[in-house]
Subunit: 299 residues, 2 copies
């Protein structure tokens, strides 16, 4: 199995279009200590020929351009991407569907809840049903979005997308709204959980023994955004467990046997974005890697 | 007035994600004869400080990153973009609104018809009304989207966006669905018409005497896409008058006094994309410029 992290940032990317927090300021200035990062997306293939795109970020066109394995390879119209899978309905995971138009056949997989959220917006009709079949996926049942890849979706604590919030949303429900994906090929297992409000016992059991874990690295501490002065929301309010602290991902997964631990979906306010920073060193000392765009895994 | 062509390509851009037509193939290969181009968008400012974005393309994040004048310039959160104007509801002109989230205040201007098309999609609620006021614009009435810019919208022959088509759409209606914009500042006038199915007498009158015209350059001949073997649609069917031929833009505007004539919204199948090609030379010989991304005009 091959996996390419197309985008390693959370919504907004690094730098975010309207942000001058210290990390975005460094990225705008071309400071090598903060790599620019595009929004959250992953490509996975059993053979390097046929690919599953997991989440379609607003930056997908730029991401595909930067990734030769995903360039069209034959005929007049073609894409190595045979299927797209969504793990929630957030803008940073669905807006890129609008770029995947142009009558290119692929299958769009998601839970009924996520498919319904997307389909309620007529603008996604640019993906005409004769080209893009929308396939409902049940939780906890293995399916093959591309031949040779077995994928199982599972509910993780989350929340509805921001654009579907009404009043104060319930946080931490384990429903079809926010899912993780266990992806298996050739006896290897990769778990992809880009959004997760809390690490539960069920999640620990599911992740036990995976070869690679790509996990929600949105915030370092629950109050990153408040500390940065750019917002009032905690990680919890956004549906994201922090990396550190009591109940944080590092501590909560410390005892779970996992081959390689990689943080993805990193928000621009997260101090781990700064190479050689204290925060970066701290998570690396705990055995975690901070993903960058283009990080390629062979397993 | 300053104007920056942020994106000079039609929907899909150059190269298009799934296309291996000769022009896209050259762009994928890095052949200098075909510059990569992002999707259709324009930024205009009366003073170089405060900007109007005309159309928000799916590539907007990449376009802003490439354009220092549009980077945030002060405080923690800021954008020089004070207003966004839409000239139709096509995906290549509205998808970028999803990137302009993150609680940044600006005004969104469009005709009632275009605003309604967008607003019917709840995903655009990421632009919360407390940050982004949606302002209906009447045709043929001057308004100031940013201080110092006077803008007048006018109907041009067009069609409904692809994602709103039902059966065979009516082409060439002059309604609020597809508009051009006349933008004035400091006694100078720029006309922006990225989509237009036919050059009418009314349009010729409106464009007479403008200092700069940015005009629909989607197709070279009406049957570009059919010749390229990548589709069955004519320019007319897509709502775009060809550059050349009888009734084409070059001929239809030849007698109209216009300071500078520039083609924008150029589809990947259009042979003018190839530098030094016969087609490129032919349109240049007629006094037209083929836009590229980043082309900056001071008038």
């Amino acid at each position: 199995m091959q996996a390419i992290i197309l985008g390693s940032a959370a919504g907004g990317g690094v730098p975010q279009w309207n942000c001058r927090c210290p990390h975005c300021t460094m990225a705008w200035a071309g400071d090598a200590r903060v790599k620019p990062r595009t929004q959250s997306s992953l490509a996975v293939s059993p053979d390097g020929e046929t690919w599953l795109l997991v989440n379609a970020s607003p930056d997908i066109r730029q991401q595909l351009f930067a990734t030769p394995a995903l360039h069209p390879a034959r005929g007049l119209r073609h894409s190595p991407i045979a299927a797209v899978l969504l793990t929630n309905g957030d803008v940073d995971h669905v807006a890129g569907l609008l770029t995947l138009r142009e009558s290119q056949p692929f299958r769009l997989h998601a839970t009924r809840n996520i498919l319904d959220s997307v389909s309620a917006n007529r603008v996604f009709d640019v993906l005409a049903p004769e080209h893009v079949a929308r396939r409902e996926v049940a939780l906890d049942e293995s399916f093959a979005p591309v031949p040779g890849l077995a994928v199982t979706l599972f509910a993780v604590p989350g929340k509805v997308p921001l654009w579907l919030e009404e009043g104060t949303p319930e946080i931490g429900q384990e429903t079809e709204t926010t899912v993780g994906a266990l992806i298996e090929a050739g006896g290897k297992r990769l778990a992809y959980v880009p959004g997760c409000a809390r690490v539960t016992d069920d999640l620990r059991r599911r992740l036990s023994g995976v070869d690679v874990l790509l996990f929600d690295g949105t915030v370092y501490l629950d109050d990153d955004m408040i500390r940065a002065g750019v917002g009032t929301k905690t990680g919890w309010r956004m549906g994201h467990v922090p990396m550190t602290g009591e109940g944080g991902a590092i501590a909560a997964l410390a005892e779970v046997p996992i081959g390689r631990r990689i943080f993805v979906h990193i928000n621009n306010t997260n101090p781990v974005l700064v190479e050689e920073s204290e925060a970066r060193r701290a998570v690396e000392a705990e055995g975690w890697t901070v993903a960058h765009d283009g990080l390629t895994l062979t397993l």
